[in-house]
């Protein structure tokens, strides 16, 4: 049995992508098992591996962890990406909460009708530029440091970079009013572990397409409509 963490999810971003980012940023190699058929999922369910019958599931350090937030917190703490004390941790949790909410709007995007997609795209850009990006822009401007919290690379930086890139995929010039974030993006992207993750051939997953949506619906029997925000 390998000592590497093993990720169980679809071959696509979804809720697992933030976990891939964080492991990569921590320099941790991991394996993946991709769910492609309903059968595979039912087998996983029957084996009792999914505590609440859901994926993501990550086998790590002898645990079968579920719940994205729990998994991310564990990885962040284990690899010293969670600040040096309770107050830094609180800041990181707040910042990650914000980028999590923002990425949540993007998570549902592939499952929307074409018409709703346009509405949602506008919604995402509006929230990014009026609610979320200004906060991080100000944090960086106020302390003038390279990283969001405690002058040290943390989970908050990884999560923000992930969010920035995802929003840029919806509107490529979305950072035009945010000079601090532009510099932040360049800086964090050039950290060796992140640079590697951003290169072709890494385990980073592409923008979800129709095939991904089809797979998720088929495996989870998730045939209902999802509404835009």
């Amino acid at each position: 049995m390998s000592a590497k963490p093993k990720l169980y999810y679809f071959d696509g971003r979804g809720k697992m992508e933030s976990i891939r980012w964080l492991l990569a940023a921590a320099g941790v190699e991991f394996e993946e098992e991709f769910l492609e058929t309903r059968d595979q999922y039912e087998k996983l369910l029957q084996s009792g591996s999914l505590l609440f019958q859901q994926v993501p599931m990550v086998e790590i350090d002898g645990m079968k962890m579920v719940q994205t937030r729990a998994i991310l917190s564990y990885i962040a703490a284990k690899y010293n990406l969670y600040g040096k004390d309770l107050k830094e941790r609180a800041l990181i949790d707040m910042y990650v909460g914000g980028t999590d909410d923002l990425m949540g709007f993007i998570l549902v995007f592939p499952f929307l009708s074409a018409e709703d997609k346009e509405k949602q795209r506008a919604f995402i850009v509006q929230k990014a530029t009026s609610r979320y990006f200004p906060v991080y822009e100000k944090v960086l401007k106020d302390h003038g440091q390279d990283f969001l919290v405690g002058n040290n690379f943390s989970w908050a930086d990884v999560h923000l970079l992930e969010a920035i890139l995802m929003v840029e995929e919806k509107k490529s010039d979305v950072l035009s009013g945010f000079p601090q974030l532009q510099a932040f993006k360049a800086r964090i992207s050039s950290i060796p572990a992140i640079k590697k993750f951003l290169e072709p051939g890494s385990q980073r997953k592409p923008v979800p397409d129709d095939k991904y949506v089809e797979t998720v619906r088929r495996v989870l029997h998730m045939y209902y409509d999802i509404k835009a925000n």
Partner: protein, 222 residues
């Protein structure tokens, strides 16, 4: 200025209620400011108090904390309710997140359109009895201890207790297939800080009613 944490939210459960539970369980007294008008909310935003323009807001230890999970994490850690090591914390986090998914359904329930209410109630019942309660029933049965994790009272126990009571309000006999959870509920009810929180006159808020829904829609109107 008081040293007590100060909570800013509507006068009702919503996303603040798990925070009230956790502070109460930890034996921490707190103050509350209730949002009743849009003007109050707009002023809070203008003052720069709300990092992402949202409540809950908890002023604690010199910080203006937002984001429910961040606030809960801080309180749980500060008051030693999150396990003794990383692995116990991982278990607590998993349990808390699962319960939170269930509570989210209950949170949204008062805002569902009238023709969807019956279906949503069925969903809550189905999820509680087939996805969430069986997990905790099994955890308690397997280790035979009083608390969910590490034989010690933790955040997970508080959240589970809150969830049990919230589901029971909607589905009164919901614990009938879960003997371990029945015992758990009784034990938790008898813990001094929780017992106090369950008494009339405590900061615990009643189930959301039409007035609460109306206030939410009014205060957060775009």
């Amino acid at each position: 200025m008081s040293g007590k944490p100060r909570l800013t939210y509507l006068n009702g459960r919503g996303r603040m209620e798990p925070i009230r539970w956790l502070l109460a369980a930890a034996g921490v007294e707190f103050e509350e400011v209730y949002l009743e008008t849009k003007e109050q909310y707009d002023k809070l935003i203008k003052d720069g108090s709300l990092l992402f323009q949202q409540v809950p807001l908890v002023e604690i230890d010199g910080m203006k904390m937002v984001q429910t999970r961040a606030i809960m994490n801080y309180i749980a850690t500060k008051y030693n309710l999150c396990g003794k090591d990383l692995k116990e914390r991982a278990l607590i986090d998993m349990y808390v997140e699962g319960i939170s998914d269930l509570m989210q359904m209950i949170l949204m329930f008062p805002f569902s359109p009238p023709d969807a209410k019956e279906k949503n109630l069925e969903s809550i019942k189905e999820r509680a009895t087939s996805r969430y309660f069986p997990v905790f029933e099994k955890v308690l049965k397997q280790h035979g201890q009083d608390f969910l994790v590490g034989n010690k009272f933790s955040w997970a126990d508080v959240q589970l207790m809150e969830a049990i009571l919230a589901v029971e309000e909607k589905v009164p006999a919901v614990l009938s297939g879960f003997p371990q959870l029945q015992v758990f509920k009784t034990k938790m009810s008898n813990m001094p800080t929780i017992k106090k929180f369950l008494q009339p006159g405590s900061p615990r808020k009643p189930p959301p009613d039409a007035h609460y829904v109306e206030t939410v829609l009014k205060v957060f109107k775009k």
